[in-house]
């Protein structure tokens, strides 16, 4: 490599960005949506209106579990919170001697309860959780592979950011530079502005993203000091070893004083999680874990009480600067601690990142089209990038819009309803990929973007026809979730529609200009 340092970095930026650009785009879209995971879930279960008191709801959930699952190994309860009105419970069924634990379907070992401990009747959906999980587990593939793939993509992103910063000499000056209607120059400006706009955010989000799964990607720091990662976690987050049931029945103490005590000792913080081991037995223990929403870096603080007496047995708080740093980094990534203002800032930065990756992908083709020997008939690699760009940038948003739409359209009583909601997302996405391959490139851009815009525009309309909560009723009753959701859908629809218009207008000029330049070149 005889070129300058900056030239080699520009090359590195171009290719690391392209290699995983489509996956990174999808990770940005779903990750950004995941900042409103709970709100999306609430919108997708419009039947849920009542809010509940976390303490009495937890007590009621214990009653439900006592009646239905008295001999389970453990119960797990997530009390309702400001962002989620229901109590989520799941349980670990009793182990059968000599048999490996069987894989059970979701729903067989979990339930969603209201504040009085009654199962709620809502449409079957996975809500925002699907988008959150796709961000790092993808779908239709083993989780472990998905996480490696996502990790490699994140590492490419980190290298692309570092080399991008080195390539870009006038970061500050270019921030004020956004020239519209200038073809390639405009794409570069769009890429630069969105990149510089939230640069610290991208660096932070990429690095902390890698940290969330660091012990999988880089286990060697742990392996150097411990026999396995399990023994390490055992030391850092000590759980109580499984105690066999004594067989002596003993009822649990009321949960309210324990929750109050735990909350008090954490400065009034909310309870995130309640776990009961060996319920109904004299060996029962109750573990209360602090909510992640209440403080940055509050991971894993918990108190353990004896089930029958309520005496405090143990309390855990991960100690040490490095562990605290790791907790803060994970919290910075997930943003669970964020209030409304900060949450919207996270969301907007995520949108910025989505545009940065998308414009970078488009820039790759715009830049190369000018240099193609025959711009009208590009080679196969170029065409592939072009089509995948359309499928990723227009296809996934269309899929997400479809996911929201089918939530309102599928029959409530349909079997495997939640599965079909998810399948719809991927079917529409695949459909756009197919369309992008079948149509002429420019038409494919216009049509796919218009399609996605139409789907987003349809969400508020279909919602208003299907359920009784919408933007208008929301404005009248102060149901802000439905106001904000409809506004977000309309905004996304306008943004995609604007992009479709741009695609219809700008591209032919750029191509014509390119052809002229080529003619001049051949003439010279």
């Amino acid at each position: 490599m005889k070129e300058s340092f900056r030239q080699s970095m520009a090359w590195l930026h171009t290719w690391t960005g392209l290699m995983f650009g489509w996956l990174l785009f999808a990770m940005f879209v779903t990750g950004t949506a995941a900042y409103f995971q709970q709100e999306i879930s609430r919108w997708m279960r419009p039947e849920l209106v009542a809010t509940a008191d976390p303490v009495s709801a937890t007590q009621a959930a214990l009653g439900y579990l006592q009646t239905r699952q008295p001999d389970a190994e453990s119960w797990f309860i997530t009390p309702p919170s400001a962002r989620n009105p229901v109590t989520e419970v799941f349980w670990q069924p009793k182990k059968v001697e000599g048999q490996p634990p069987t894989r059970r379907k979701r729903g067989e070992t979990s339930a969603t309860l209201d504040g009085h401990g009654h199962p709620v009747t809502v449409r079957e959906t996975r809500g925002g959780y699907v988008l959150y999980r796709f961000h790092f587990d993808l779908h239709y593939m083993p989780v472990l592979w998905a996480r490696y793939l996502v990790g490699v993509a994140a590492m490419f992103m980190l290298v692309a950011i570092v080399s991008g910063i080195i390539t870009h000499k006038k970061i500050f000056a270019d921030f004020f530079m956004l020239r519209f209607g200038k073809g390639q120059r405009s794409w570069l400006d769009a890429h630069n502005v969105t990149a510089v706009f939230a640069l610290p955010f991208y660096l932070m989000i990429t690095y902390t993203g890698l940290v969330t799964l660091a012990t999988q990607y880089m286990p060697w720091g742990v392996m150097a000091n411990y026999a396995s990662t399990d023994t390490f976690f055992e030391e850092v987050f000590p759980g109580r070893a499984d105690v066999p049931r004594s067989g002596v029945a003993a009822p649990l103490v009321p949960i309210s004083p324990l929750m109050a005590m735990a909350s008090r000792s954490w400065g009034g913080a909310a309870i995130g999680f309640v776990q009961v081991a060996n319920p109904g037995d004299s060996t029962a223990t109750i573990t209360i874990t602090r909510a992640a929403e209440t403080a940055i870096g509050a991971r894993g603080e918990s108190m353990v009480f004896a089930g029958p007496s309520g005496t405090l047995l143990d309390r855990h708080a991960p100690e040490g600067g490095a562990l605290a740093t790791q907790s803060v980094m994970v919290a910075l990534h997930t943003g669970r601690y964020a209030g409304w203002g900060l949450r919207w800032l996270y969301f907007l930065s995520g949108i910025g990142g989505t545009i940065m990756v998308g414009s970078g992908l488009v820039l790759w083709t715009v830049k190369r089209r000018a240099k193609l020997p025959d711009p009208a008939h590009p080679h196969i690699g170029f065409r592939l990038v072009e089509r995948l760009n359309i499928a990723a940038i227009a296809g996934l948003p269309a899929g997400v819009a479809a996911y929201f739409l089918v939530n309102r359209l599928l029959p409530i009583a349909m079997g495997n309803r939640a599965e079909w909601e998810i399948n719809s997302l991927f079917l529409i996405w695949a459909g756009v990929l197919f369309w992008a391959c079948a149509r002429p490139q420019r038409r494919a851009w216009v049509e796919s973007l218009s399609f996605a815009a139409t789907l987003f525009a349809a969400v508020p309309i279909v919602n208003a026809l299907a359920v009784s909560r919408n933007m208008l009723t929301g404005l009248m009753t102060g149901d802000w979730l439905f106001v904000a959701f409809d506004m977000a859908m309309v905004t996304l629809s306008f943004a995609l529609g604007w992009a479709a218009r741009k695609a219809a207008r700008v591209t032919p000029k750029a191509v014509r200009g390119t052809r002229r330049k080529n003619k001049e070149l051949t003439a010279a």
């Binding site: 490599m1 090359w11 720091g221 150097a224 040490g320």
Partner: protein, 103 residues
């Protein structure tokens, strides 16, 4: 890496990129892994703390190595550098394990 005009040039260019990519991705990962393991054993703090500190730094080390590999003047320098780091870190880790202490 500018485009080369002739076919042989393109071939050479591609091989060159492949060599750098292997050095950066695989060589870089191995060196990072050894560096992280050494740090985890040698940092003067509790074992859990040292392990976490080293792990947190790992991605910065890896990214630094990748950038350096792609900006180095020749592939020879890259392999000499990576080989040297491998040797030093490997011996360091071996001695640390040999003399006992943590684990």
């Amino acid at each position: 890496m500018a485009a080369h005009p002739n076919r042989a040039g393109i071939r050479r260019h591609r091989l060159h990129v492949l060599a750098r990519a292997i050095a950066a991705i695989i060589g870089g990962y191995v060196v990072t892994a050894l560096a992280v393991a050494c740090l985890a054993r040698l940092l003067p703090m509790r074992a859990a703390e040292a392990s976490i500190t080293a792990t947190l730094a790992s991605f910065a080390i890896y990214a630094g190595i990748i950038v350096t590999v792609f900006s180095a003047r020749s592939i020879l320098r890259v392999w000499v550098g990576l080989g040297g780091a491998l040797l030093v870190l490997g011996v360091g880790l071996y001695l640390s394990i040999l003399t006992g202490g943590r684990l």
